[in-house]
Subunit: 294 residues, 3 copies
């Protein structure tokens, strides 16, 4: 707990606060990039802003490999003093991320289920507690785990296409979003909206997502990156340290809850997903997806 301050009646931070915190602009290396099989990262050193593009067709599903690379990329940026903010977006048309990869939950060993679930927890813990400014530029549909990634950011901008939808639709598959998905959701849309949306497993079309506060604004697809950069500049105008402490104060209770019950949550997942009834449901669902494709 630290003290409140006094006035400035201007709405922008004083110049002295901003200037001293900007990373040194370098004329030699204004942009660095690194990538792996699933994710492309570009860091603009002059602005301190990285863009992380999910490029794992067909639907950017969150496989164990994807989650591992996502985690490594995040950690790299977090440790890079030149980076102050990240914009997450998709390189795959029409989809931001389809959420957790069902094949990781089907016909595997309990060890595998445990490893997979730990990776899901890990990405959320890192994202939701990130010291960097995190903005989701949602340029496609974003169900389940894809929605969780957006919910864990500081700000969500979505393409205004009503064919794109977003939500925690787990209930529709006969499964239940874990309590920390729910806590993250409630922190964004409030208890009542979350209760109805989770029970019905609603995928909200973009205009509805805006209305319930699940995303912060809608823009035409061609304006998305420009808008994300403008919002990022607004957030980076604040002194990092105060912003980070404030973010931590707001999110600590929900983060601590998973941290305190992490192993229990993994055991729950393993025993749930190992049930024959759930395995059967997931197999049927995967077959339906295959038929849909062909």
């Amino acid at each position: 707990a630290v003290p409140p301050g006094v006035l400035p009646l201007c709405r922008r931070p004083p110049a002295w606060g901003r200037a001293s915190r900007q990373p040194p602009a370098s004329l030699l290396a204004p942009c660095r990039a690194f990538s792996n099989n699933k994710i492309l990262v570009e860091l603009d050193e002059s602005s301190g802003v990285a863009t992380m593009k999910f490029k794992s067709p067909p639907v950017n599903s969150l496989s164990l490999d994807f989650l591992t690379e996502f985690c490594i990329s995040l950690e790299k940026l977090e440790n890079d003093r030149a980076c102050r903010g990240v914009i997450f977006t998709s390189a795959v048309p029409k989809i931001f991320s389809s959420g957790l990869d069902i094949t990781e939950m089907c016909g595997k060993s309990t060890e595998h289920y445990g490893e997979f679930w730990r990776a899901v927890q890990e990405i959320w813990l890192r994202l939701y507690s990130s010291d960097m400014v995190t903005i989701a530029a949602v340029n496609g549909s974003s169900p389940a785990g894809g929605c969780l990634i957006a919910l864990s950011c500081d700000y969500r901008i979505m393409v205004e296409n009503p064919k794109f939808s977003i939500g925690l639709n787990e209930a529709q598959l006969g499964i239940v979003a874990p309590f920390w998905f729910k806590d993250t959701f409630v922190n964004v849309v409030g208890h009542r909206v979350a209760e109805r949306s989770l029970q019905l497993g609603i995928l909200h079309p973009a205009p509805e997502a805006l209305k319930i506060g699940l995303v912060d604004e809608l823009v035409p697809e061609e304006k998305l990156q420009e808008k994300a950069a403008a919002v990022m500049a607004q957030w980076l105008a604040l002194p990092d340290h105060a912003r980070q402490l404030t973010k931590s104060m707001m999110r600590k209770a929900v983060l601590d809850r998973l941290i305190a019950h992490r192993e229990e949550d993994i055991q729950n997942f393993i025993s749930f997903v190992s049930k024959e009834s759930i395995q059967k449901s997931l197999r049927m669902y995967m077959e339906m997806l295959k038929k849909k494709k062909s």
Copy 2:
């Protein structure tokens, strides 16, 4: 805590999920009914939907007898595998339920007060945690305990007549809504709206109730049952088990709080209502009601 799922981009659950969970339609007994002095229940076995009609004129007040029969009817449905959802509505014109029956709190023994209060707790505990889909079809005014019944359902549809109002107006009588009324209210309308509404004991006319989220939608009186059936069908399209676990996850904290303090809450009620000042207030209030009638 159980796992999140993956995508389906369609907004309806897959056919395999629904079909297997619908109760077997019976050509022989499509509708069963049972009733008692206060409540009429009709169960349509083909849809799995029951309608519970409060028929205790003049105002469907929640007497000990009413609460007991309400509780038995609920339990019967909860144990009937053919029933998946209940619509609550009133058979008395212009009133949904007037709330707790004041005569139960006036000039009775402490044993009676304790028994009465336990019945009030019981109906809330059952309703708020019900595995069935619960929809309030609010076709009249619904103050205090009447409002609590609506708040405890999954969804609230109200007749759009601005003469009908709904709210927790206890403060206007000089009494205070118990903490679990308050918790249920906050879960629906949020902290700020609840704080003001409870302190002022506001009865919100239907249009205002919609605006603050106290009810989910308004319809003309003649469309109420049709609308309730349509909403029920939407909720029943989800697999029961996932929906029930999700509901429990959302409501558990508030339910557990009363369960942990149930006996204490009963003692509080007894000692509060036994005070001479409160007895006097309630007697004056009842006399005022009598005069109003004549």
Copy 3:
């Protein structure tokens, strides 16, 4: 926990409830006033309503002296049975209160910091838990600690001038609002709005403050006192005792949290504000303010 009541379908409390609770109107002493260097208080004994005017130019900053006199004035009214409600407003044009006085945090002893912070805590504890009806008539800008005073009242009316702004803008100064500022804010505007507003240190222009629920209504400056009196009359129409218990039920969790961690919170403040980096920031900020003036 005390019991819910039954119906009245009228929206005003019954006459018997109001009449018996109004303080005796006195023809001899309808209005009493007292004042000190910083604050002017006028109590209208016939209505039971006091007006507390902040008159500490240039910006009503919350110095240790101001907080002490504020506290004494509040306590006086709280102990005066003729007083049931207070309206807070400013006698200084264009500013409600600029928040905590930075000079109290700069170049002083640790004893002084401790004494100052305890006074800040004290005023919040008293205001947020006051048995009186408290209304903020915000007739000017109200950043940081000024916003906290408004947030701690039962109702907020602001002048509809878009040049006046209100918010917890601590992050803009490189400092962090304490957890109980945050808790109070979340109780009014909800988690998501608070998270973004606190991280960006936003000062919301009056129309935006209304939109996010940070204030309850906007009025033209010349109508402010009249409106505040009308709202006060509405709140005073309720029986005091039930209203007070309801208020306490709504705010107890947040109040208890500071009470449980009060000394720790003071130590946190002292060690934070004693840091050379923070002292330097505050000195630079004060110099900027001085230049701005000249």
